[in-house]
């Protein structure tokens, strides 16, 4: 299927007291229309920054963002305004991302006003009610304030606001992480239904691998600003080829207390994202690292069809020649 969004060699650097921080460092991928690309990775590896750069909330330091055939990196701020309608974001924190002084209706209306979507007040009201129904909020909620809702219903408000202007692409930045499991399941089911109904394409950021596995088609794994592995979700969860991905999968806390799983606890020092030098950024924590890993940055390559990995020793990992000692 055709790709809706293609990113190549995207970089975002921040200047911080200790130097240049490589938050997103040479990232390339594409997302097919109507599909969900899951993004996982360690806290601080650049997931949120990636999402924000894609939406133009932060300017990119370098690289291209091709959205529906248009190269957004060449667009001026003004040219980006109509594009913004097509790309929206749902943030993690349903508490912080809603203005407590506005009613539910006012919150959902905001983007409609901003983009002059409705011609009359009546039309706007109709659209807001339609959106509320779509996300499963009762009509009664129209004039209530966000603090009168629990986390799950607040996240529904956030989703309604994001969908108000009819976007094609939605960045979901940890949309269910703050919710308890039962409410989380309701919101995930809602997001999957809306995707089918409206043909939405998602970039779905989460550190919860079971959630990502549930909702995604393809998954990218990031580590310190870089994509280190990408594959269809089945391949990624079944035959991970990067040592970090393997460690990540083994660390998922399980509710099954009878089955004692093998866990890999990573040791070794973390690398800093500030002015990182040559070499693999995971090398210091990787039990398989060789001299080469510290010296040269591994190439991001397609080791199997549609399965990309950036590791010097991926072949050996794949064949089982290298195995973690787990605890």
């Amino acid at each position: 299927m055709e790709s809706l969004l293609t990113v190549s060699h995207l970089k975002k650097y921040f200047d911080v007291p200790a130097g240049r921080l490589h938050a997103v460092d040479d990232v390339s991928f594409s997302i097919r229309r109507g599909e969900t690309l899951g993004v996982v990775g360690e806290s601080g590896c650049g997931k949120s920054t990636l999402g924000r750069v894609l939406l133009g909330l932060y300017p990119a330091t370098a690289g291209d963002i091709i959205f529906q055939g248009m190269d957004l990196s060449t667009f001026s701020k003004k040219d980006l305004i109509p594009i913004r309608r097509e790309m929206q974001i749902v943030f993690q924190d349903p508490y912080a991302s809603l203005d407590p002084r506005l009613t539910v209706a006012q919150i959902i209306e905001e983007p409609l006003r901003l983009h002059h979507v409705c011609r009359s007040t009546a039309e706007r009201r109709e659209r807001v009610e339609e959106l509320m129904e779509m996300v499963g909020l009762s009509k009664r909620a129209y004039n209530l304030y966000p603090h009168e809702f629990d986390g799950g219903r607040r996240q529904r408000i956030v989703i309604a606001r994001a969908l108000a202007v009819g976007p094609k692409f939605v960045v979901c930045d940890e949309p269910v992480s703050a919710l308890d499991v039962s409410v989380q399941a309701q919101v995930l089911n809602l997001m999957i239904d809306l995707q089918e109904r409206l043909g939405l394409t998602y970039l779905f950021i989460s550190h919860d691998l079971s959630v990502v596995k549930h909702i995604s088609d393809d998954v990218v794994v990031m580590y310190l600003g870089q994509v280190i592995e990408k594959a269809g979700k089945r391949d990624l969860f079944k035959t991970p080829m990067h040592p970090y991905t393997i460690a990540l999968l083994s660390a998922i806390p399980s509710v099954n207390i009878r089955e004692k799983r093998q866990r890999i606890i990573l040791k070794g020092e973390l690398s800093s994202p500030i002015d990182p030098g040559e070499g693999c950024r995971f090398a210091k924590r990787c039990p398989f690292a060789t001299e080469e890993c510290f010296q040269t940055t591994p190439l991001y390559r397609e080791l199997e069809p549609e399965h990309f990995v950036a590791c010097h020793r991926a072949e050996e990992v794949r064949s089982g020649a290298l195995q973690f000692k787990s605890v």
Binding site: E42, S43, E174, S177, L248, I252, P253, V255, L270, S272
Partner: protein, 319 residues
């Protein structure tokens, strides 16, 4: 009588405003032994944070009122504490990692300064030694020391959360109350952070109440678990017992809502309906409107806790 480290009995807390009376906590009994980790689990609005804030004596008043019950810390009822005693208790006895990490950090001070300040207050170290202790603790939770001079807005969500965990651990409390401390963390960092906390618990004979909605984290971290629903503990027991034989239909529903790693694409089955409105709780068992086993008796009167070691609050199979 011999007291456990922390004993909560019959705690009732409401939030009362001009228009509403929110029945947030409706008769909670819990105990925490020295060296024990207790998981406190339950849906949004179940009253978990309210229980934690009651222990800390930090219920916002108004609108919050502790209407009844006692909270004994080493046998002393905290509810009758003076402000000065409370300050002493919060400094050296019980520390809390708050649910909203963003409000716990001062935006105009560097992370290093804030951590060092805590160390100076608790350990009476020099400023330089305090900064070093802060840097070490940050590294233990996986933030490199070259980030010490960053301001909070330069940290990612999970990094802020780790800074706050580091801050609480630097206080070396007897009881640590952690309110959703790892929600913004990925599993490898989460495993690392929980490992440090477990280590400190063993090393310093610390105890912890871990509030979370992640049943996997509870399985790997806690000794006992209390499941809350609508301001009451509805199931309470060892992790072993509750996970292998969940008794309350609500607990069973929670286990059913989790996306499974080992199955493909099936639709999630959340518990039907929504949590009850805490200003108008149903009579009888608060869970009955969502319960698949509901009988007449469930609508009419609220069940008491049953069982001794493994306790639960349900009429099902009661004679």
């Amino acid at each position: 009588m011999e007291h456990d480290l922390l004993e909560i009995r019959g705690l009732h807390v409401h939030y009362v405003t001009d228009t509403d009376d929110v029945q947030a906590v409706n008769g909670v009994d819990l105990t925490l032994k020295r060296g024990e980790v207790l998981g406190l689990v339950g849906e949004t609005g179940a009253g978990k944070t309210t229980v934690a804030l009651s222990i800390m004596q930090l219920i916002p008043d108004p609108p919050g009122i502790i209407l009844g019950g006692e909270i004994l810390f080493k046998g002393k009822n905290l509810i009758y504490n003076s402000d000065k005693e409370n300050q002493e208790m919060r400094g050296n006895g019980i520390s809390m990692i708050f649910q909203d990490p963003m409000t716990a950090l001062n935006p105009i001070m560097t992370v290093g300064q804030q951590l060092a300040e805590v160390v100076v207050k608790h350990k009476k170290l020099s400023k330089k030694a305090a900064l070093e202790a802060a840097a070490e603790m940050l590294e233990r939770v996986g933030v490199t020391r070259d980030r010490l001079n960053d301001y909070p807005h330069q940290f990612s969500g999970g990094m802020k959360q780790r800074a706050i965990i580091a801050m609480a651990l630097l206080c070396s409390p007897e009881i640590l109350i952690a309110d959703e401390p790892t929600t913004a963390l990925d599993v490898t960092i989460q495993a690392q952070v929980l490992e440090i906390i477990r280590h400190l618990i063993r090393e310093n004979d610390m105890s912890m109440i871990l509030i979370t909605h992640d049943l996997g984290v509870v399985a790997e971290t806690c000794d006992r678990i209390a499941i809350m629903y609508a301001g009451k503990v509805v199931e309470y027991g060892s992790v072993q017992d509750v996970y292998t034989h969940p008794k309350h239909p609500y607990t069973q529903g929670l286990f059913g809502s989790i996306p499974k790693m080992d199955t493909e694409d099936e639709r999630l089955s959340p518990i039907p309906g929504m949590a009850p409105n805490a200003t108008a709780l149903p009579s009888g068992c608060a869970f009955y409107p969502r319960c698949g086993h509901c009988q007449d008796r469930c609508r009419e009167s609220a069940p008491d806790m049953r069982g001794t070691e493994h306790q639960y609050r349900c009429w099902l199979d009661a004679e």
